[in-house]
């Protein structure tokens, strides 16, 4: 027993040595070692680990919503289960349609994750492309792209998203497009600032001397270096994205009933909040916890990925 734990301890020690080695023998070892070092910086921040766990929990909840939810999120019994307080049968109570709120919150995590993921996939590349292009080319292109970015930045996000949804029509797909259209400008600014510091670097001149085209320089040598700061910013923005999506749902412009979107659930619960507080409480707490988790995660990622902030 003691010998096996001793052996395991020694194996751990060897792995640690191998990962932290000053002279990695292969590319793979170097990559693993760097990931390990980043993870150690990240794990030192306890709140960030809590945030990561909650976000993983959200993803698992969304993936296994069918298994986890005790009742149907769409069908309730209007005769017997209308507006029941929290109990062992319905942990978060039931809403005005007799639907189990726990099941609706669980299925709502799918919509939240859908919105967050899609906005990240849509907005981050747009911001990255616009920013690096503007920063590297400079001159007229830079000025034009940055003025467009400024125009988008001239409106508060929710209000611009409202205007877009008004033009496109309500619905969760249009809400995602509207939020993505309103959230790329900060990423473009960050990518541009990063590009401006990189474009004079020696290695860029070296690549240009070899004969690389501007497209290749931007795509292969500048963009990868901007990715980490954009990822940090996107993670920190996740909370804002969730809250904007919930705000759109709250105003009846995001997900349409009967889909269990958290913001729409709060808007519905508002009608009953005096006598039936639990209808709005559960989705509100869900939005709160998930936004907080993304903020913690973003803070931790910034410490781990951004070399300037960690010093």
């Amino acid at each position: 027993m003691t010998s096996t734990s001793e052996a395991a301890r020694r194996a751990d020690e060897n792995l640690h040595q191998w990962l932290m080695s000053d002279r990695p023998r292969s590319r793979r070892q170097a990559a693993f070692g760097r990931a390990y070092a980043t993870w150690r910086t990240f794990a030192r921040n306890r709140l960030a680990v809590v945030g990561l766990l909650i976000v993983i929990g959200l993803a698992l909840t969304a993936a296994f919503a069918d298994v986890l939810s005790p009742y149907s999120p769409y069908i309730g019994d209007l005769r017997t289960t209308r507006l029941l307080p929290p109990s062992t049968a319905h942990w978060f109570g039931t809403d005005d349609q007799g639907r189990d709120i726990l099941s609706r919150v669980i299925f709502g995590s799918r919509i939240t994750l859908f919105v967050v993921g899609l906005v990240a996939i849509l907005a981050a590349p747009i911001g990255l492309a616009v920013g690096t292009l503007a920063g590297y080319s400079g001159g007229l292109i830079d000025a034009a792209l940055m003025r467009i970015t400024d125009i988008f930045l001239a409106f508060p996000r929710l209000i611009l998203a409202l205007a877009f949804v008004a033009a496109l029509g309500p619905g969760i797909g249009n809400a995602v497009i509207a939020i993505a259209l309103t959230s790329w400008p900060p990423y473009a600014r960050i990518a541009r600032a990063e590009t401006l510091t990189l474009r004079q670097a020696d290695y860029i001149s070296a690549v240009r001397l070899i004969g690389a085209s501007p497209w290749r320089i931007v795509w292969r040598h500048i963009m990868p270096l901007c990715v980490s700061s954009v990822i940090v910013r996107v993670t920190l923005d996740m909370a804002g994205i969730i809250i904007t999506a919930a705000g759109l749902g709250f105003l009846g412009l995001g997900a349409q009933p009967p889909s269990p979107e958290w913001g729409a659930m709060i808007a519905n619960g508002r009608l009953y909040v005096l006598d039936h507080w639990w209808v709005a409480a559960a989705p509100g707490a869900a939005i709160f916890i998930v936004s907080l988790a993304f903020n913690f995660l973003g803070d931790g990622l910034r410490d781990a990925l951004d070399p300037k902030a960690s010093k």
């Binding site: 996000r157 929710l158 611009l160 409202l162 205007a163 008004a166 033009a167 705000g247």
Partner: protein, 194 residues
């Protein structure tokens, strides 16, 4: 306090707009139960104390709205303060015989104030977008509620108008904070002259 005034400003701007559909049944909420503060919506009062009445109805929505940006301003203030306190002039002020809080308030705080203006100006954006939700909840007949109502009635002209007004207020405030920054920070002023 400044936040309350900001809300008052935004809301009174909204009150200038025509309100076809500003009546919404009283939203539910704790104030009606507790009777600590008057419940929304603002009653149509023609007495001579309209302003005081309106202000008493503003306390609850504006404090909730202000809470949005409070956290952001507090965090930025903290990081600016940490930056300043590590500077040498703070140590010098301490050596000179200042107490710790004396050094913080007399020497570090005025230097924080300048970048803080930008932060407060930018947090106005979150106030404007928070107003949309807060005014809907509290049935406050301001610009935000007007925007929401016209959205739900597919009144595109009203939506565009409200969006443009909000956008121009926001841009104007950003410009104002930039100008204030240059007035208050001698270093940027010198750069402008050159």
């Amino acid at each position: 306090m400044g936040l309350a005034w900001a809300t008052l400003f935004a809301s009174s701007l909204g009150a200038q707009l025509p309100q076809q559909a500003s009546f919404i049944p009283a939203p539910s909420g704790l104030p009606q139960q507790s009777r600590l503060l008057p419940a929304p919506p603002r009653p149509p009062s023609f007495a001579d104390q309209i302003a005081a009445n309106a202000f008493s109805h503003l306390i609850l929505p504006s404090s909730i709205l202000g809470y949005f940006s409070l956290a952001y301003i507090a965090r930025m203030t903290r990081s600016f303060m940490i930056d300043q306190l590590s500077q040498e002039y703070v140590t010098a002020a301490r050596i000179k015989g200042n107490s710790y809080w004396g050094a913080v308030w007399r020497h570090a705080f005025p230097n924080i104030l300048v970048p803080l203006i930008t932060v407060v100006g930018l947090s106005y954006a979150s106030l404007l977008e928070g107003a949309v939700l807060t005014e809907t909840v509290f049935a406050w007949p301001g610009l935000g509620l007007y925007l929401t109502n016209s959205l739900q009635n597919a009144d595109m002209n009203a939506v565009l108008g409200a969006t443009i007004i909000v956008g121009s207020i926001f841009v104007g405030l950003n410009l104002l904070s930039d100008l204030l920054y240059q007035m208050l920070d001698p270093r940027t002023r010198a750069m402008v002259r050159r």
